[in-house]
């Protein structure tokens, strides 16, 4: 399968503290790859650096183009989208405005079609289209954040803890949507505390510990890895 994104020797520091150290990641053009690890392992920092929000050292190639020095807006234009852990919604703006801004940089000419697609995927957002984002429930906010990212019709969608703080029923919905997106051909990089759920939908996984990638491989192998089962997946 063709490679969409390659990160080589990627390092990110907060001042003198190195949060991510010389990691290498390769993402295929479709399917889900998951990045798992404990709190503070550097997963969110990795996503933010791949998006260009945090400056990083190393080399980053997207679809054969060197994007190491590209600012966030250029990466968005090329088809990379990130749904951050904090959602980063425009809380005092309506659901529809939040969504329409999703195609500000990419896919603007097809914004109307994209909006209908997002409403088709998340009917709840259509019901709440005039409501302010601040008034949405946790699950709806997550849907809005994902919908906003999908408005740009990304080629690579990075999801940071999409199930964080949500009720189990909503989590099930979110994972169903993630697998639907995978089936529609979007490449997904999924960071998830619920490692078992992530590995069940992913084709490959990377394990991060203290800012370094310690293990990687096919999800079917990682899910049976004894050390991972003890550390992240829970015994039994």
């Amino acid at each position: 399968m063709s490679v969409l994104l390659t990160a080589t020797d990627l390092s990110v520091s907060y001042g003198k503290v190195v949060a991510v150290h010389n990691i290498a990641i390769e993402l295929p053009g479709s399917g889900i790859v998951t990045l798992i690890g404990a709190n503070g392992a550097g997963k969110s920092t990795t996503l933010l650096s791949l998006m260009g929000v945090l400056p990083a050292k190393g080399k980053l190639m997207f679809d054969g183009i060197d994007i190491t020095k590209s600012p966030v807006e250029e990466r968005v234009e090329m088809g990379i989208s990130l749904v951050s852990e904090k959602r980063d919604l425009f809380s005092s703006m309506s659901v529809e405005d939040n969504l329409r801004l999703g195609c500000y940089r990419r896919n603007r000419s097809h914004g109307g079609e994209a909006l209908e697609e997002v409403f088709g995927r998340f009917p709840r957002l259509k019901e709440r289209r005039r409501q302010l984002a601040a008034t949405l429930s946790g699950g709806e906010r997550q849907m809005l954040a994902m919908g906003r990212a999908l408005m740009a019709r990304p080629r690579l969608l990075m999801l940071d803890e999409p199930s964080l703080g949500l009720a189990p029923l909503i989590v099930r919905d979110i994972f169903r949507i993630v697998t639907d997106l995978r089936d529609s051909g979007i490449a997904i990089l999924l960071v998830e505390q619920n490692a078992r759920a992530a590995l069940e939908v992913a084709s490959a996984g990377y394990v991060m510990e203290l800012g370094e990638i310690t293990t990687h491989g096919p999800a079917s192998e990682l899910i049976n890895d004894r050390r991972l089962i003890e550390s992240y997946l829970g015994i039994g």
Binding site: V53, V76, S84, R87, S91, M93, L101, A152
Partner: protein, 344 residues
Amino acid sequence: MDSTITLFLLQDGLINGSIYALLAVAFVLLFAVTRIIFVAQGDFVAYGGLTFAALQQGSVPGSIWLLAGLGIIAGTLEFLRERRALTRPKVLGILAGDFVFPLTLTGVAILAAPQDMPYLFDMALALTLVVPMGPYIYRICFRPMASASVLVLLIASVGVHWLMIGLGLLFFGAEGYRAAPMFGANFALGPVPVSAQSLLVMGATLALLVGFYLFFGRTLAGKALMATAVNARGASLVGISPSFSGRTAFLMAAFVGAISGILIAPLTTLYYDSGFLIGLKGFVAAIVAGFASFPLAVAGAIAIGIAEAVSAFFASAFKEVIVFSLILPILIWRSIRAPHLEED
């Protein structure tokens, strides 16, 4: 105080309040988008009015040299910043926007100033000479420190203010200037005479405020700017460049300042440092609005304009004292309502 005096004071207060309202909106916009409390906002008023007055009098405004200098500095810094990623379109863009554009405007001003040009031409030229200074100042002074604290940004903006004041003295001299009104007509509103220029100020303010409302409420570009104000990282994630938002906010703020100066230049004598005091009243209105709400800023500005007119009538020596003392109860009220405000 009879009804005639009340109407006089109300008229005076509304005219001043209109200008403060525009400046307050600019303060709120700049702070919301860039976190900069731009103390030099009022200096655009003085530069706009004095550049316009100079053009009307047939002399070359000194502000052209600031425009040319800012363009060249911004362009040179851009070349240095982009030196490793320079492409032909980028080079052409920098040359056109930072060198050819300001130098052409400078040339046009030198050639046009001695000619007897129409009123509207002088207005438009004054605007095009002063407004680009806003984005240039942002790119030179603030973009490199965009992630600095609010306090550092405030100190930098104080520095820009003193620089503009100093250069203003050099360019325009210590003397005050007053421009001719666009319309010389006067009307009578009951017992109160109203000049056409006063109506122009209020009408233009209203039109600009409606324009801002439509821009922010109806256009994707306006919503993108507001999105940066609401959540800068969220805006960045959808591809809205923080630098572009900053430049746009400064462009709008400089436009608001310059047009305010051009509008009031026929009503009051402007000096190189007049902008500071005018801007400060817009600043007080922005404080009323907590640097967050546009409608509150406008309401606060109108109230300040009226308070100023009333205090000028009853206790002219204490006019400024009364107006600026309003900050204290407002801040106390705001701190009671929102006691846990912290810097992000």
